[in-house]
Protein backbone atom coordinates (compact mmCIF):
# COMPACT_ATOMS: atom_id res chain seq x y z
CA UNK A 1 0.00 0.00 0.00
CA UNK A 2 1.73 3.10 -1.19
CA UNK A 3 0.65 6.64 -0.44
CA UNK A 4 -0.69 8.20 -3.62
CA UNK A 5 -1.42 11.80 -2.64
CA UNK A 6 0.09 13.63 0.29
CA UNK A 7 -0.58 17.23 1.36
CA UNK A 8 3.05 17.95 2.29
CA UNK A 9 5.31 15.30 0.87
CA UNK A 10 6.26 14.48 -2.64
CA UNK A 11 7.73 11.02 -2.93
CA UNK A 12 10.37 10.90 -5.59
CA UNK A 13 10.71 7.24 -6.31
CA UNK A 14 13.86 5.68 -7.64
CA UNK A 15 14.04 3.33 -10.58
CA UNK A 16 11.76 0.29 -10.40
CA UNK A 17 13.63 -2.92 -9.59
CA UNK A 18 12.81 -6.54 -8.81
CA UNK A 19 13.90 -8.73 -5.96
CA UNK A 20 12.92 -12.12 -4.55
CA UNK A 21 11.16 -12.87 -1.30
CA UNK A 22 11.08 -16.59 -0.47
CA UNK A 23 11.30 -17.28 -4.18
CA UNK A 24 8.54 -14.88 -5.22
CA UNK A 25 9.40 -11.92 -7.41
CA UNK A 26 8.48 -8.55 -5.90
CA UNK A 27 8.87 -5.09 -7.38
CA UNK A 28 10.36 -2.24 -5.42
CA UNK A 29 11.98 1.14 -5.92
CA UNK A 30 15.65 1.91 -5.64
CA UNK A 31 16.40 3.89 -2.49
CA UNK A 32 13.94 2.11 -0.23
CA UNK A 33 14.70 -0.44 2.43
CA UNK A 34 13.93 -4.14 2.10
CA UNK A 35 11.40 -3.89 4.95
CA UNK A 36 9.61 -0.92 3.35
CA UNK A 37 9.47 -2.66 -0.02
CA UNK A 38 8.09 -5.84 1.57
CA UNK A 39 5.53 -3.89 3.56
CA UNK A 40 4.38 -2.09 0.42
CA UNK A 41 3.89 -5.54 -1.12
CA UNK A 42 1.82 -6.64 1.88
CA UNK A 43 4.49 -8.77 3.57
CA UNK A 44 4.55 -8.23 7.31
CA UNK A 45 6.05 -11.44 8.65
CA UNK A 46 9.83 -11.23 8.20
CA UNK A 47 10.99 -14.04 10.44
CA UNK A 48 10.12 -16.69 13.02
CA UNK A 49 11.27 -16.48 16.62
CA UNK A 50 13.91 -18.86 17.94
CA UNK A 51 12.05 -21.10 20.39
CA UNK A 52 8.33 -20.64 19.89
CA UNK A 53 8.50 -19.90 16.16
CA UNK A 54 6.27 -16.89 16.56
CA UNK A 55 5.98 -14.51 13.61
CA UNK A 56 8.31 -11.51 13.68
CA UNK A 57 7.80 -8.14 12.01
CA UNK A 58 9.81 -4.95 12.20
CA UNK A 59 9.44 -2.77 15.28
CA UNK A 60 11.62 0.36 15.23
CA UNK A 61 12.43 0.66 11.49
CA UNK A 62 15.63 2.60 12.26
CA UNK A 63 18.10 -0.16 13.09
CA UNK A 64 17.79 -0.28 16.88
CA UNK A 65 16.04 -3.54 17.74
CA UNK A 66 16.89 -6.31 15.22
CA UNK A 67 13.25 -7.46 15.05
CA UNK A 68 13.46 -7.23 11.25
CA UNK A 69 16.34 -9.68 10.77
CA UNK A 70 16.15 -11.69 7.54
CA UNK A 71 18.42 -13.77 5.37
CA UNK A 72 19.67 -11.59 2.52
CA UNK A 73 21.72 -13.10 -0.31
CA UNK A 74 22.49 -15.99 2.00
CA UNK A 75 23.61 -13.87 4.93
CA UNK A 76 21.51 -14.17 8.12
CA UNK A 77 20.66 -11.46 10.65
CA UNK A 78 20.54 -8.59 8.18
CA UNK A 79 18.50 -5.69 9.57
CA UNK A 80 16.16 -5.23 6.65
CA UNK A 81 14.76 -1.93 7.94
CA UNK A 82 18.08 -0.20 7.28
CA UNK A 83 19.33 -2.23 4.32
CA UNK A 84 18.47 -0.88 0.89
CA UNK A 85 16.80 -3.25 -1.53
CA UNK A 86 18.74 -4.04 -4.68
CA UNK A 87 18.01 -5.50 -8.09
CA UNK A 88 17.95 -9.28 -7.97
CA UNK A 89 18.41 -9.48 -4.19
CA UNK A 90 17.40 -12.79 -2.62
CA UNK A 91 15.54 -12.19 0.62
CA UNK A 92 14.30 -15.03 2.81
CA UNK A 93 12.29 -15.36 5.98
CA UNK A 94 14.68 -15.93 8.85
CA UNK A 95 13.90 -18.88 11.12
CA UNK A 96 15.52 -18.55 14.52
CA UNK A 97 19.12 -17.50 14.72
CA UNK A 98 20.04 -18.19 11.13
CA UNK A 99 23.26 -19.78 9.96
CA UNK A 100 26.21 -17.56 10.78
CA UNK A 101 28.74 -19.18 8.46
Amino acid sequence: MRIQNHPILNFEKGEEIKFYFDGKQISAFKGETIAAALHAAGVKVLGKSLFKHRPRGFYCAIGNCSACSMVVNGEANVRTCVTMVQEGMIVETQKGKGEIL
Binding site: V45, R56, F58, Y59
Partner: protein, 360 residues
Protein backbone atom coordinates in the same frame (compact mmCIF):
# COMPACT_ATOMS: atom_id res chain seq x y z
CA UNK B 1 44.48 3.75 13.73
CA UNK B 2 42.96 7.00 12.54
CA UNK B 3 43.55 10.18 14.59
CA UNK B 4 41.12 13.12 14.77
CA UNK B 5 40.43 16.02 17.12
CA UNK B 6 36.74 15.38 17.80
CA UNK B 7 34.70 12.31 16.94
CA UNK B 8 30.94 12.84 16.86
CA UNK B 9 28.87 9.67 17.05
CA UNK B 10 25.45 10.14 15.50
CA UNK B 11 24.34 12.53 12.76
CA UNK B 12 20.93 13.58 14.07
CA UNK B 13 20.08 17.10 15.24
CA UNK B 14 22.47 16.96 18.22
CA UNK B 15 25.37 15.37 16.34
CA UNK B 16 25.09 17.72 13.36
CA UNK B 17 25.16 20.76 15.64
CA UNK B 18 28.06 19.35 17.68
CA UNK B 19 30.05 18.82 14.48
CA UNK B 20 29.27 22.35 13.22
CA UNK B 21 30.21 23.82 16.58
CA UNK B 22 33.45 21.86 16.94
CA UNK B 23 34.51 22.65 13.38
CA UNK B 24 33.70 26.34 13.73
CA UNK B 25 36.00 26.38 16.76
CA UNK B 26 38.80 25.19 14.50
CA UNK B 27 38.94 21.49 15.40
CA UNK B 28 39.03 18.67 12.84
CA UNK B 29 35.82 16.72 13.30
CA UNK B 30 34.87 13.22 12.25
CA UNK B 31 31.10 12.76 12.07
CA UNK B 32 29.84 9.17 12.00
CA UNK B 33 26.34 7.93 11.34
CA UNK B 34 24.96 4.46 10.70
CA UNK B 35 22.54 5.63 8.01
CA UNK B 36 23.09 6.60 4.43
CA UNK B 37 21.46 9.97 4.99
CA UNK B 38 22.38 12.37 7.79
CA UNK B 39 19.69 14.14 9.81
CA UNK B 40 18.63 11.34 12.16
CA UNK B 41 14.92 11.41 12.93
CA UNK B 42 14.52 14.95 11.56
CA UNK B 43 14.15 13.55 8.07
CA UNK B 44 10.77 12.03 8.89
CA UNK B 45 9.32 15.00 10.76
CA UNK B 46 6.79 16.70 8.52
CA UNK B 47 5.38 18.95 11.24
CA UNK B 48 6.50 22.43 12.14
CA UNK B 49 8.64 22.81 15.21
CA UNK B 50 7.90 24.66 18.41
CA UNK B 51 10.52 26.58 20.38
CA UNK B 52 11.93 29.90 19.29
CA UNK B 53 13.40 31.21 16.07
CA UNK B 54 16.90 30.13 17.04
CA UNK B 55 15.75 26.49 17.00
CA UNK B 56 13.85 27.01 13.74
CA UNK B 57 10.35 27.19 15.18
CA UNK B 58 7.63 26.97 12.50
CA UNK B 59 10.00 25.17 10.14
CA UNK B 60 9.25 21.54 9.27
CA UNK B 61 11.66 18.95 10.67
CA UNK B 62 12.94 17.69 7.32
CA UNK B 63 13.66 21.27 6.25
CA UNK B 64 15.65 21.80 9.46
CA UNK B 65 17.79 18.79 8.49
CA UNK B 66 18.58 20.52 5.19
CA UNK B 67 19.41 23.80 6.91
CA UNK B 68 21.83 22.01 9.25
CA UNK B 69 23.41 20.08 6.39
CA UNK B 70 24.02 23.36 4.53
CA UNK B 71 25.67 24.78 7.63
CA UNK B 72 27.77 21.64 7.95
CA UNK B 73 28.88 22.13 4.39
CA UNK B 74 30.25 25.58 5.22
CA UNK B 75 32.85 23.86 7.38
CA UNK B 76 33.56 21.00 5.04
CA UNK B 77 37.31 21.56 5.26
CA UNK B 78 37.15 20.71 8.94
CA UNK B 79 34.55 17.94 8.88
CA UNK B 80 34.92 14.44 7.59
CA UNK B 81 31.64 12.57 7.21
CA UNK B 82 31.42 8.81 7.52
CA UNK B 83 27.92 7.62 6.75
CA UNK B 84 26.82 3.97 6.62
CA UNK B 85 29.13 3.53 9.57
CA UNK B 86 28.27 1.47 12.61
CA UNK B 87 30.13 2.38 15.76
CA UNK B 88 30.80 -0.90 17.50
CA UNK B 89 32.62 0.07 20.65
CA UNK B 90 33.91 2.88 22.80
CA UNK B 91 36.74 1.77 25.06
CA UNK B 92 38.18 3.06 28.35
CA UNK B 93 41.26 4.40 26.56
CA UNK B 94 39.11 6.50 24.23
CA UNK B 95 39.44 4.27 21.18
CA UNK B 96 36.37 3.94 18.96
CA UNK B 97 35.88 0.88 16.79
CA UNK B 98 33.71 1.00 13.70
CA UNK B 99 32.41 -1.14 10.87
CA UNK B 100 32.24 0.52 7.48
CA UNK B 101 31.97 -1.10 4.06
CA UNK B 102 32.28 -4.43 5.86
CA UNK B 103 35.67 -3.39 7.25
CA UNK B 104 36.72 -3.00 10.86
CA UNK B 105 38.58 0.20 11.74
CA UNK B 106 39.88 1.97 14.82
CA UNK B 107 39.76 5.68 15.62
CA UNK B 108 41.55 7.64 18.32
CA UNK B 109 40.02 11.07 18.85
CA UNK B 110 41.12 13.69 21.38
CA UNK B 111 37.55 14.24 22.49
CA UNK B 112 34.23 12.57 21.72
CA UNK B 113 30.64 13.72 21.49
CA UNK B 114 28.18 10.85 21.81
CA UNK B 115 24.87 11.82 20.17
CA UNK B 116 23.30 8.43 19.56
CA UNK B 117 19.73 9.46 20.35
CA UNK B 118 17.08 7.23 21.87
CA UNK B 119 15.04 4.14 21.15
CA UNK B 120 11.34 3.53 21.48
CA UNK B 121 10.05 1.73 24.51
CA UNK B 122 7.81 -1.30 24.28
CA UNK B 123 4.68 -2.08 26.25
CA UNK B 124 3.99 -5.42 27.94
CA UNK B 125 0.72 -7.20 27.08
CA UNK B 126 -0.12 -10.65 25.66
CA UNK B 127 0.86 -10.97 21.97
CA UNK B 128 2.75 -7.68 21.94
CA UNK B 129 5.21 -9.26 19.49
CA UNK B 130 2.72 -9.73 16.64
CA UNK B 131 3.70 -8.15 13.32
CA UNK B 132 1.50 -5.11 12.92
CA UNK B 133 2.54 -3.77 16.31
CA UNK B 134 5.14 -1.11 15.67
CA UNK B 135 6.85 1.77 17.37
CA UNK B 136 5.18 5.05 16.42
CA UNK B 137 8.49 6.30 15.03
CA UNK B 138 8.73 3.23 12.82
CA UNK B 139 5.37 4.01 11.28
CA UNK B 140 6.48 7.58 10.73
CA UNK B 141 9.61 6.39 8.93
CA UNK B 142 7.63 4.01 6.78
CA UNK B 143 5.11 6.59 5.63
CA UNK B 144 7.08 9.85 5.61
CA UNK B 145 10.41 8.59 4.31
CA UNK B 146 9.32 5.71 2.08
CA UNK B 147 5.74 6.66 1.23
CA UNK B 148 4.33 3.34 2.40
CA UNK B 149 1.14 3.10 4.45
CA UNK B 150 1.50 0.93 7.55
CA UNK B 151 -2.00 -0.50 7.15
CA UNK B 152 -5.67 0.40 7.10
CA UNK B 153 -6.81 1.10 10.64
CA UNK B 154 -4.52 2.16 13.46
CA UNK B 155 -4.84 1.99 17.21
CA UNK B 156 -2.45 4.55 18.67
CA UNK B 157 -1.21 3.76 22.17
CA UNK B 158 0.04 6.92 23.86
CA UNK B 159 -1.33 10.45 23.71
CA UNK B 160 1.95 12.30 24.18
CA UNK B 161 3.21 14.60 21.45
CA UNK B 162 4.64 11.78 19.35
CA UNK B 163 1.40 9.79 19.51
CA UNK B 164 -0.69 12.81 18.58
CA UNK B 165 1.59 14.04 15.81
CA UNK B 166 1.99 10.60 14.25
CA UNK B 167 -1.79 10.09 14.36
CA UNK B 168 -2.30 13.33 12.51
CA UNK B 169 0.34 12.37 9.96
CA UNK B 170 -1.30 8.98 9.47
CA UNK B 171 -4.54 10.73 8.61
CA UNK B 172 -2.66 12.97 6.17
CA UNK B 173 -1.43 9.79 4.51
CA UNK B 174 -4.99 8.52 4.24
CA UNK B 175 -4.97 6.00 7.07
CA UNK B 176 -7.88 5.67 9.48
CA UNK B 177 -7.26 6.05 13.23
CA UNK B 178 -9.59 3.85 15.27
CA UNK B 179 -8.68 5.56 18.54
CA UNK B 180 -5.85 7.01 20.56
CA UNK B 181 -5.58 5.59 24.06
CA UNK B 182 -3.42 6.55 27.01
CA UNK B 183 -3.09 4.94 30.42
CA UNK B 184 -2.75 8.31 32.09
CA UNK B 185 -5.92 10.19 33.08
CA UNK B 186 -4.75 13.24 31.10
CA UNK B 187 -3.43 13.84 27.60
CA UNK B 188 0.34 14.21 27.74
CA UNK B 189 0.84 16.09 24.46
CA UNK B 190 0.03 19.69 23.58
CA UNK B 191 -3.68 20.39 23.59
CA UNK B 192 -3.52 22.15 20.20
CA UNK B 193 -2.57 18.82 18.63
CA UNK B 194 -5.20 16.91 20.62
CA UNK B 195 -8.08 19.20 19.71
CA UNK B 196 -7.14 19.18 16.04
CA UNK B 197 -7.35 15.38 16.08
CA UNK B 198 -10.57 15.28 18.05
CA UNK B 199 -12.15 17.67 15.56
CA UNK B 200 -11.33 15.14 12.87
CA UNK B 201 -13.50 12.66 14.71
CA UNK B 202 -10.87 10.50 16.42
CA UNK B 203 -11.66 9.49 20.01
CA UNK B 204 -8.89 10.02 22.54
CA UNK B 205 -9.51 7.65 25.45
CA UNK B 206 -7.56 8.49 28.59
CA UNK B 207 -7.26 5.99 31.48
CA UNK B 208 -7.26 3.16 28.94
CA UNK B 209 -4.67 0.55 28.17
CA UNK B 210 -4.19 -2.56 26.04
CA UNK B 211 -5.39 -5.82 27.55
CA UNK B 212 -4.22 -8.00 24.69
CA UNK B 213 -3.56 -8.15 21.00
CA UNK B 214 -5.32 -10.73 18.86
CA UNK B 215 -4.17 -12.25 15.60
CA UNK B 216 -2.68 -15.39 14.10
CA UNK B 217 0.22 -14.26 11.94
CA UNK B 218 -0.40 -10.53 12.20
CA UNK B 219 -2.45 -8.18 14.32
CA UNK B 220 -6.18 -8.44 13.63
CA UNK B 221 -7.70 -6.73 16.63
CA UNK B 222 -6.92 -5.43 20.08
CA UNK B 223 -8.77 -5.51 23.36
CA UNK B 224 -8.51 -2.37 25.45
CA UNK B 225 -9.83 -1.72 28.92
CA UNK B 226 -10.30 1.11 31.34
CA UNK B 227 -8.07 1.88 34.34
CA UNK B 228 -9.28 3.10 37.71
CA UNK B 229 -7.67 5.98 39.60
CA UNK B 230 -4.95 3.62 40.88
CA UNK B 231 -4.13 2.53 37.34
CA UNK B 232 -5.68 -0.92 37.86
CA UNK B 233 -7.76 -2.34 34.99
CA UNK B 234 -11.51 -2.56 35.56
CA UNK B 235 -13.12 -5.90 34.66
CA UNK B 236 -16.07 -5.65 32.33
CA UNK B 237 -14.81 -2.51 30.57
CA UNK B 238 -13.16 -4.43 27.74
CA UNK B 239 -13.72 -3.28 24.16
CA UNK B 240 -12.43 -5.09 21.11
CA UNK B 241 -11.16 -2.79 18.39
CA UNK B 242 -10.60 -3.98 14.87
CA UNK B 243 -7.13 -2.87 13.84
CA UNK B 244 -4.26 -4.06 11.67
CA UNK B 245 -1.67 -1.63 13.06
CA UNK B 246 -1.00 -0.79 16.65
CA UNK B 247 1.44 2.05 17.21
CA UNK B 248 3.29 2.08 20.49
CA UNK B 249 4.16 5.57 21.59
CA UNK B 250 4.93 5.24 25.28
CA UNK B 251 8.18 7.13 25.38
CA UNK B 252 11.81 6.74 24.52
CA UNK B 253 14.90 5.74 26.40
CA UNK B 254 18.47 6.95 25.82
CA UNK B 255 20.61 4.75 23.55
CA UNK B 256 23.46 4.72 26.01
CA UNK B 257 25.22 1.41 25.39
CA UNK B 258 28.43 3.06 24.18
CA UNK B 259 28.55 5.30 27.24
CA UNK B 260 28.04 2.32 29.52
CA UNK B 261 30.80 0.45 27.74
CA UNK B 262 33.14 3.41 28.26
CA UNK B 263 32.18 3.21 31.96
CA UNK B 264 30.57 6.62 32.17
CA UNK B 265 28.58 6.91 35.39
CA UNK B 266 24.87 6.28 34.85
CA UNK B 267 21.74 6.70 36.92
CA UNK B 268 18.12 5.60 36.51
CA UNK B 269 16.15 8.80 35.92
CA UNK B 270 12.58 8.15 34.76
CA UNK B 271 11.98 11.82 33.84
CA UNK B 272 14.72 11.56 31.21
CA UNK B 273 13.73 8.16 29.85
CA UNK B 274 15.56 5.61 32.03
CA UNK B 275 19.28 4.88 32.39
CA UNK B 276 20.83 8.30 31.89
CA UNK B 277 24.44 9.41 31.90
CA UNK B 278 25.68 11.82 34.55
CA UNK B 279 27.27 15.00 33.23
CA UNK B 280 28.37 18.52 34.12
CA UNK B 281 27.08 21.80 32.69
CA UNK B 282 29.46 21.47 29.71
CA UNK B 283 27.82 18.13 28.87
CA UNK B 284 31.00 16.27 29.76
CA UNK B 285 30.45 12.86 31.38
CA UNK B 286 32.35 11.30 34.28
CA UNK B 287 34.93 10.05 31.75
CA UNK B 288 37.10 13.00 30.80
CA UNK B 289 36.81 13.94 27.14
CA UNK B 290 33.54 12.11 26.53
CA UNK B 291 30.68 14.53 25.97
CA UNK B 292 27.01 13.88 25.27
CA UNK B 293 24.22 15.77 23.50
CA UNK B 294 20.62 15.18 22.48
CA UNK B 295 18.32 12.38 23.58
CA UNK B 296 21.14 10.14 24.77
CA UNK B 297 21.79 12.68 27.51
CA UNK B 298 18.11 12.62 28.52
CA UNK B 299 15.06 12.39 26.26
CA UNK B 300 13.67 15.80 25.28
CA UNK B 301 12.78 17.52 22.02
CA UNK B 302 14.80 18.01 18.85
CA UNK B 303 15.01 21.74 19.58
CA UNK B 304 16.92 21.20 22.82
CA UNK B 305 18.99 18.45 21.17
CA UNK B 306 20.31 20.99 18.66
CA UNK B 307 21.28 23.50 21.33
CA UNK B 308 22.90 20.76 23.43
CA UNK B 309 24.84 19.73 20.35
CA UNK B 310 26.17 23.24 19.81
CA UNK B 311 27.12 23.51 23.46
CA UNK B 312 28.79 20.09 23.71
CA UNK B 313 30.71 20.65 20.46
CA UNK B 314 31.90 24.04 21.68
CA UNK B 315 33.11 22.63 25.01
CA UNK B 316 34.64 19.48 23.49
CA UNK B 317 36.72 21.71 21.21
CA UNK B 318 37.74 24.09 23.98
CA UNK B 319 38.87 21.17 26.12
CA UNK B 320 41.52 20.18 23.57
CA UNK B 321 42.74 23.67 22.82
CA UNK B 322 40.36 24.93 20.15
CA UNK B 323 38.64 27.80 21.83
CA UNK B 324 36.06 29.53 19.66
CA UNK B 325 36.72 33.27 19.41
CA UNK B 326 33.25 33.95 20.82
CA UNK B 327 33.39 31.06 23.26
CA UNK B 328 32.00 32.93 26.26
CA UNK B 329 29.13 34.66 24.46
CA UNK B 330 28.14 31.50 22.62
CA UNK B 331 28.21 29.37 25.72
CA UNK B 332 26.10 31.82 27.65
CA UNK B 333 23.62 32.03 24.78
CA UNK B 334 23.25 28.25 24.49
CA UNK B 335 22.68 27.90 28.21
CA UNK B 336 20.01 30.63 28.05
CA UNK B 337 18.30 28.95 25.09
CA UNK B 338 18.16 25.66 26.97
CA UNK B 339 16.75 27.36 30.04
CA UNK B 340 14.01 28.95 28.02
CA UNK B 341 13.14 25.70 26.20
CA UNK B 342 12.80 23.99 29.57
CA UNK B 343 10.93 26.80 31.28
CA UNK B 344 7.32 26.81 32.39
CA UNK B 345 5.10 23.98 33.57
CA UNK B 346 5.75 21.79 30.49
CA UNK B 347 9.48 21.71 31.25
CA UNK B 348 8.95 20.85 34.88
CA UNK B 349 9.70 17.13 34.73
CA UNK B 350 12.71 17.74 32.46
CA UNK B 351 14.09 20.24 34.95
CA UNK B 352 13.65 17.85 37.83
CA UNK B 353 15.35 15.08 35.83
CA UNK B 354 18.28 17.31 34.95
CA UNK B 355 18.87 18.17 38.59
CA UNK B 356 19.61 14.48 39.09
CA UNK B 357 22.14 14.09 36.29
CA UNK B 358 24.23 17.07 37.19
CA UNK B 359 27.44 16.89 39.08
CA UNK B 360 30.29 14.73 37.92
Amino acid sequence: MKHVDIAVIGGGPAGLCAAISGASSGAKVLLMDRSEKLGGQLIKQTHMFFGSEKQYASVRGFDIADILLDKLNEYKDNIEIMNNTNVLGLYEDGVITIERNEKYEKIKPKSIVVATGASEKVLAFPNNDLPGIYGAGAVQTLMNVYGVKPGKRVLMVGAGNIGLIVSYQLMQAGVEIAAIIDASPTIGGYLVHASKIRRMGVPILTSHTVKEAIGRDCLESAVIWKLDENWNPIDGTEQEIETDVMCISVGLSPLSELLQQAECKMKYIPELGGQTVLRNENYETSVEGIYVAGDVSGVEEASSAMVEGYLAGLCAAQKIGFKHKNYNELKEDYIKQLESLRSGPIGHHIRSGIEKVMGV
